[in-house]
């Protein structure tokens, strides 16, 4: 009986010490300015915002190619290689967008309203070339807010888009 009482006293003392240690730890953590556990999770980082902007821009280019090809199927053989590479860009960018479980997935911004369709194949190819050039330039503007590896991916995509712009200019005389 005496042993049981002593054991109970020892148990409650151990428990008190444990609780005190936890309380001290919580107090110390709070005093150090650690994140508030009850605060809402932080929003997306600048790099994630940059990634999302790149995905939207890439989607916009893909849409432009599809619009042109719907109107001028004769351009398919010429434009398909460029469109395929944009599909690769888009897939690669999207694969980097990982949404944590606690974050509500917001839809990606929709590309701005489609511009009017050019009146000839030549004008359509010119429009795509200008869109490629603008996209390559815009990627450079996103490098500052990207992580090093994302910056390299964006720079590579921009280089690809720059080659598309030049190739489309060279091909355009063939488009009547």
């Amino acid at each position: 009986m005496t042993e049981r009482r002593a054991a109970a006293r020892a148990f409650s003392r151990r428990r008190l010490l444990t609780v005190s240690a936890v309380m001290l730890s919580v107090t110390a953590t709070a005093a150090c300015g650690s994140p508030d556990l009850l605060a809402p999770p932080p929003g997306p980082s600048p790099s994630v915002r940059t990634l999302r902007a790149s995905i939207t821009a890439e989607q916009s280019l893909v849409d432009a190619y599809h619009r042109v090809l719907s109107a001028y199927p004769a351009l398919t053989a010429m434009l398909r290689p460029f469109l395929s590479q944009h599909d690769e860009h888009l897939a690669r960018l999207k694969s980097r967008l990982i949404i944590p479980p606690h974050v509500k997935a917001t839809p990606l911004p929709t590309p701005s309203a489609a511009a009017g369709l050019p009146a000839s194949t030549r004008a359509a190819v010119t429009m795509l070339g200008e869109a490629e050039r603008a996209a390559a330039a815009a990627q450079l503007g996103r490098l500052a807010t990207a992580t090093p590896s994302l910056a390299q991916l964006l720079a590579s995509i921009a280089a690809s888009e720059a080659t598309h712009a030049v190739a489309l200019s060279a091909l355009n005389p063939a488009a009547g």
């Binding site: 590479q85 450079l140 590896s149 390299q152 720079a155 030049v166």
Partner: protein, 152 residues
């Protein structure tokens, strides 16, 4: 604290110099390689090779100056570079030119990973210019110029 900040700045500067040195080495290899290629080309292709050779010579000089400005010593060009295959005809010369430009694109890619925003942009612009030349020599474009296949 100040020592830590200075340490980080020194490390960033060392990384920038090392990346610039790798770009300089690629540009010097391109200068030499275009000499080999040009010897096998004629007409418009020779004219293009001469133009690209000049671009790489100017880039080499500019990079040397950038390295010196940062307190480094620009790496000297090698006396000779071994091409990846015998360059004994126009076809091989054109392939060599494309491969040289691929190497330059990869080298500029290293600048894009640096913290220095100016060098990031400079690197990306260098990638675009070299990728355009590579595509022109090869006659086709690629989805991810400069990125190693293993990263894709």
């Amino acid at each position: 604290m100040a020592r830590g900040a200075r340490g980080r700045a020194d490390a960033a500067s060392s990384a920038a110099i090392a990346a610039l040195q790798s770009v300089l080495a690629a540009e010097n290899a391109a200068v030499y390689g275009y000499g080999l290629a040009g010897a096998q080309l004629s007409g418009g292709q020779l004219s293009n090779a001469r133009q690209d050779w000049t671009v790489h010579q100017m880039a080499s000089a500019a990079l040397s100056a950038m390295i010196t400005e940062r307190g480094g010593t620009p790496g000297a060009a090698a006396v000779a570079y071994r091409p990846p295959f015998p360059v004994n005809g126009a076809g091989a010369a054109v392939s060599l030119a494309a491969i040289l430009e691929d190497g330059v694109v990869r080298a500029y890619l290293s600048l894009v990973a640096l913290a220095d925003q100016g060098l990031r942009t400079f690197g990306a612009q260098g990638m675009q210019a070299a990728a355009i030349r590579a595509a022109s020599w090869r006659g086709s474009t690629t989805a991810f110029p400069g990125l190693p296949a293993g990263d894709l």
